[in-house]
Amino acid sequence: MHAGLVVSATDLCYHYRKTTALNGISLAIPRGQLCGFIGPDGVGKSTLLSLIAGARAVQRGQLQVLAQDITSRRSRKLLMRQIAYMPQGLGKNLYPTLSVLENLTFFAKLFAIPAKQRDERVKRLLTATDLWSFRHRPSGKLSGGMKQKLGLCCALVHNPDLLLLDEPTTGVDPLSRRQFWKLISEIRQQQPDISIIVATAYMEEAEQFDWLATINNGQLLTSGKPAQLLADTQTTSLEQAFMRLLGVTSQATPNPPQPRPEHDRAIAIEAQHLTLKFGAFTAVDDASFRINKGEIFGFLGSNGCGKTTTMKMLTGLLPPTSGSAALFGQPITHYDIETRKRVGYMTQTFSLYEELTVAQNLKLHGKLFGLSHEQLTERIEILAQQLDLSALMPQLAKQLPVGERQRLSLAVALIHEPDILILDEPTSGVDPVARDTFWRQLQVLARQHGVTLFISTHFMNEAERCDRISLMHAGKVLVTDTPAAITQASGKDSLEDAFVYYLAQAQPDTATPRVSSPTQRDEVVVQRRGFSLSRLLSISHRETIELMRDPVRLAMALIGSVILMFVLGYGINMDVDEIDFAVLDRDRTSVSRDYTLNLSGSPYFHQQDELTDYTELEQRLRSADISLAIEIPTNFASNLQRGNQVELGAWIDGSMPMRGETIQGYVQGMHAEWLNYQLSLQPSAPSNPGRISVESRYRYNPDIESLAAMVPAVIPLLLMLFPAILTSLSVVREKELGSITNFYVTPTRKSEFFLGKQLPYLALAMLNFFILLVQAIFVFDVELKGSLMALTLASLLYVVVATALGLIMSAFLNSQIAALFGTALATILPASQFSGMITPVTSLDGLARWIGEIYPTSYYMIASRGAFSKALGFGDLTVMLIGLAVAAVLFTMIGIMLVKKQER
């Protein structure tokens, strides 16, 4: 291990199932320099960065970062304090509902920076990046460039020794890109020993780096100074060197645009005073342009300036607030099927079906456009050839690197041979070689097939390939002309400079001089080690803010349970009454009628029309017209008189066994009563009959009110389902959206993450409990006879278990849909049927018995009923409280153990 190295890797390998990302790469990156990774898409640059950051676990090989072994848990704990990592994607690791200030403060808290230093630092960073005036804006509403600047602030907040940036400027407009790099160079001036490693697709950026590594197919091609690379490849620009290395021949300059189309050609796209407002915000303001058939029209502008919105209006996705647009003279009316057939649209983000293969995606879209089988086969063949997709056909779209995905998206947009192609940043994140191929294909389309192209981009060399371009800013079209004319008019040398000039004019505030620098070396950041309560609380705090900003979720969690308690409390009723019965009376004597009267006089039974024969008896039972049929045999009365054996028949509908059993019980009881009555009438009774009476006393609920019995049972059900589902989704959501990385690469401990996530939902669940309690006592009039304190303690322990259960589920699952279904499965059935809500656990059998014995709802169910109905307090509930406490500790410990600190 060389002291001058920041990263040293030996024979590093990484596989995603079948795909190999890194194939035995070895490299040594010098310390204290600005280093870059370049290479085509999907060659393992991002994987390498995430391994260095410790976000991903090393599968094979050795990796030393800052002279420490990152595969060891101990050294990783220390390294986390020295490394900062900014993952790929605009604002991927930011929390969109949190404000700029809240985001940055949260990161500072994760590194346990003392409050005073933290505030100072946060302010200085935000001022340095011109974000201070936007500090209260939610990060989700920032433009791409601002998001990246905020991401950088978040990365710098703990004064790292090593800064890892994964394509930090992809999808960012030129002006913001310049500002970003200026910021980086200022940081390097302030802090000369900081090491920075960047992966980028911009070759002009890479030329500024001190050290470069080119990577292809998971292996290192070259490494060293950029000048060295140029010399070795005998090229003058990095872009050429890159192509040379990959063995691609390319023209030295971009294809010169074809002569401007004649004016007499048909107008393909026309927009007049197109305006779209979202409430008070004007996304597109009075945009007008006219595009000829076969023209390549470029759309440039800063992030969030309204390019995408304009495109959506042209495709008919969004109806304009005012103004009009027409394709081929046909005004765009919302949902016009015919217009759609002539348009091919490629969205900014990859929006094809990731679970389908390349071939399946193409076929699906072709079929949706109504292509016949022959047409489809032919088109797919042509496109596969044109866009070099043949070899990718059986691959899942999910597994494709960005460049190949974009090619697939283009193929899909072209499948039905549209006349107009609307492409929204089709080359973002695509490597130079693939971009060049892509553009040549576009030019063929325009020139040879007369397809009109409307395309937005951030790359200036792409804009130069357009026939005409529009510069857009803040919803307004600033200028529309040929690239050369625009450059000329601005008096600048290059289109990029011209672009920056126009933008800077349009937003003068960016020119304000800065007073402070982003970092200051003299400061000492105290970073406490070990478990940090403040870090835990900051995670809770952030989760709480997110929850508060989603009032719909919050309201549904609270009101939802109240509604459910109403419905279930009133609805669940175990009484069996209003039993419809009919009699098949073959005796027709006063005695037999007396027997019938005995039944129909009872409040439980409800007599229906008399039966005539067995067929009718069967028929009416079958159609659920009656649930009980009584057959009184012929000579019932006379046989009874003579003391002969008589047997009555009772047919009970057993299709609902619980109800059937209750009816059986009733019939037996009524029969016994009738017998007793008859006996007492018999004067000829030979001896004293001797009778006893059996009195039933219903304890806890003497009037047998269903509501009083159900309310204490519904609370445990609700307090299990809601917290469990909310917590499991909250973690899986972070996994899906990417912010989980912050947990992987910061010194946050598993326990801090787990408990921090749990705490807000715990509070929500307790709030929920008190609302339900108030509802039970004051709305339903169910008396709480026992100890409120004991019940509250039991509830607290119980919701700890419920939230922990949700978190445990989330450890295994990666998709929200699976998390929802899985958690629903793991809670609804056990809590509603195996925990004694209706059938006591002791009466269960098999697996259900085992589940019921250990499922926490069983314990809480007893505690809740005990406290509500049985007037129990701490003493009587000790066993249940201990059981719940054990479960709470156990579930939390298991949960913390299962949390993964690295992606695998």
Binding site: Y353, E355, V567, G571, G643, L648, S696, P840
Partner: protein, 371 residues
Amino acid sequence: MRSINIIFNLGIKELVSLSRDPMLLLFIVMAFTVFVYTAASATPQTLHKTPIAIIDNDRSQLSQQIVNAFTEPYFLPPEYVSAQTADRDMDRGRFTFIVDIPEGLQRDLLANKQPEIQVIVDATRMSQAFTGNGYVQAIIQTEVAEFTQQKAIMPVTVALRARFNAELNSGWFSAIMELINQITMLSIILTGAALLREREHGTIEHLMVMPVTPMQIMLSKVWSMGLVVLVAAAFSLFIVIKQVLDIPTLGSAGLFLFGTALHLFATTSMGIFIGTFARSMPQFGLLFLLIILPMQILSGGMTPFDSMPIAVQWIMSLAPTSHFTEFGQGLLFRGAGLDIVWPQLTALLAIGLVFFIISWRNFHQRIAQMA
């Protein structure tokens, strides 16, 4: 024709997507096998191993006879408790019933003094308390009658025959109800979440620029996700319920699957409905809970439908599960034919249509905001 083609192809796409989520597939398989099996074998009978205690202050031949009459499988062997500890034991939930036999029971009986036996019932134990009380009373009376040999004097017995489920095996019932629950739960989640996933991944936007109507998108999800659940339900019915659990169902299986298909039409439409309302998965999850719990608990699957308050019955009759449960019970247990279950089938179709149309209108209106 073209429309049918689109609906078919979009549906195939859903099926392929589903096949690529192994965890979800595993859950689906579990839901229709392990869960149905476990629910079926959970409660053989309502009165099964009921915990009972005796306070025997008499210690006579008669009291002994009464104690011995409480046998398995209905009751656990009775435990003797003292009057002092009885209340506490019940507080702790140890017993559902406590039979209090007074001192001098046998003597008083023979002296025709009409002694009284008290049965203390834990009313919080719901079904067991109500059902069991009748049994406990009957058992005591029978034993007393036998003791005093009244049988010979009053030779009237009632032959109780439970139709359709002679042993009142509640496992049969639970199995079918769990099957119905899983059908409902899965179909709502699959369609609703499939819609939300399209939204989160931006693919809905893609569909909307193509010559595809919201109606086609909806129908494709309804048929594909419905089919998945239908196949799973058929497997569960034929293999798990009929073969493994050996539950003798009556009625035509074909008719059951037809009814299931109608039910799925309604539930998948509900899924889409929730999917259009929710803006994120957590919101969808909460809305789902709000709808699925009443549907599972109040549709006549856990408690008798007729016993619920009229208002609740009225509300629940809008839920497809209520009709599907009634249909399933009638068909599979009572062997009812089309002539009997047609009202439920009509109700399912009507509810399905209403939900579908509401969802369609809602989807149509909201689709612009989804992009």
